[in-house]
């Protein structure tokens, strides 16, 4: 599979942007010689239901829309879900475990997105055998994606801290920790941060740290305003790492998942804009956080719940 050098303006932009990676220069970015251009990003959280898959789908789509070649991998063995959120559930023929067990090639298992030419999905297996995924198998798949010239590999982690979550983060260069401004989610995120700094390849080999970012979801500026919900600054202060995005609570997330469209691609919305900002920050742009204030509503709108 070769990188399709289409004549879209995006492709040119891609070339223009690529020499300048994230401003946090990393002196030793590669595990293998060929991996310099590929960044492996894990989307993780510890707690379930906070928006990992929604985030993986939107970040991967956002990067692909900016001309990057992106693979998004579902590590939730037994509970396949990314395919539904990406809207490709009926096109799954082979899955992650099939590739690892040699039932098919990686090319056969990668599902090409119908909306974006440079976006590919690898579905999770529905087997109940938790050992079907292993470190060597994951390494082989990642190496093949790297050799294929992918710019980004987004690993959608399962909830928990078991094997699937461990494998999803193991080879990561960067981690996006998805967190709700809520006590159990914040505590679990801290646990995940501990694992990122001890149980990853980079940690074990003493390489430079996995870059960590927080992404807050289901954020309600109104409730933060009334003191019912912790603010971005509160969460940031407790966990002590930088924030790459704040996604407001919105019914648009459910609508997009109902339709099988990553919310970032599902038309104009604050959520889509907030994810787009996060994508830009991933690419190294320095943007202020948006949607932290409750939009001003008129008296009529407030009375009639508009």
């Amino acid at each position: 599979m070769t990188l399709e050098t289409t004549v879209q303006p995006q492709a040119e932009e891609d070339n223009a942007v690529r020499p300048a990676p994230a401003p946090v220069a990393d002196p030793t970015p590669s595990r293998t010689g060929a991996s310099k251009l590929t960044e492996i990003i894990v989307v993780t959280s510890g707690k379930g239901g906070v928006g990992k898959t929604t985030t993986s789908a939107s970040l991967a789509s956002g990067l692909a829309r900016r001309g990057k070649k992106v693979a998004v991998l579902d590590f939730d063995i037994g509970l396949r879900n990314l395919d539904l959120i990406m809207g490709c559930e009926r096109r799954v023929v082979y899955d992650f475990v099939n590739v690892i067990q040699g039932d098919c090639t990686l090319k056969q298992a990668l599902i090409k997105d119908k909306r974006l030419d440079s976006l590919f999905i690898l579905a999770a297996s529905q087997t109940r055998d938790k050992d079907a995924l292993n470190v060597e198998g994951v390494r082989r798949v990642l190496d093949e994606l790297i050799a294929d010239g992918f710019d980004y590999i987004v690993c959608d982690s399962p909830a928990g801290i078991e094997k699937g979550a461990h494998l999803a983060m193991y080879y990561a260069d960067r981690a996006i920790v998805v967190v709700n401004p809520e006590v159990s989610s914040v505590r679990d995120s801290d646990r995940i941060l501990g694992l990122l700094s001890s149980k990853t390849y980079r940690a074990e080999k003493g390489e430079s740290k996995v870059k960590e970012h927080l992404l807050l979801t289901r954020y309600s500026p109104r409730r933060v305003g009334t003191g019912e919900m912790m603010s971005v600054d509160d969460v940031k202060e407790i966990l002590g790492i930088d924030v790459i995005g704040v996604i407001p609570e919105s019914p648009d997330v459910l609508s997009a998942s109902n339709a099988g469209t990553p919310v970032i691609l599902a038309g104009e919305s604050e959520v889509a804009d907030a994810y787009e900002d996060a994508v830009k920050r991933l690419l190294g742009e320095d943007l202020p956080l948006r949607f932290l204030q409750e939009p001003k509503r008129g008296l009529l709108a407030r009375m009639f719940g508009g």
Partner: protein, 85 residues
């Protein structure tokens, strides 16, 4: 009576969440930085001490520190007041 509740604001609880998290996260981080056996050691010590004295789990502090180049395992148990002794 409950009509009044409609006009009353809900108590702001975000600060409470933040304070609780600050404490538990700090505690869990200090456990994490020590050797893996510390939490288990703490739990087992608690089981043993409980056989003799009715102590609260919070009353047991196990700390690994450094003193003059040596690792020192520090154990402190706050015993309950005279009435239960």
């Amino acid at each position: 009576m409950d009509l009044l509740a409609l006009f009353r604001r809900k108590a702001p609880t975000a600060n409470l969440a933040k304070e609780r998290l600050r404490i538990i996260v700090a505690q869990e981080r200090s456990n994490r930085s020590g050797p893996d056996y510390l939490p288990l050691l703490r739990r087992e010590l608690f089981e043993v001490i409980k056989k003799y004295v009715n102590v609260d789990p919070d009353a047991i502090h196990v700390n690994l520190g450094k003193e003059e180049g040596q690792d020192v395992l520090e154990l402190s148990v706050a015993l309950p007041g005279a009435k239960s002794a």
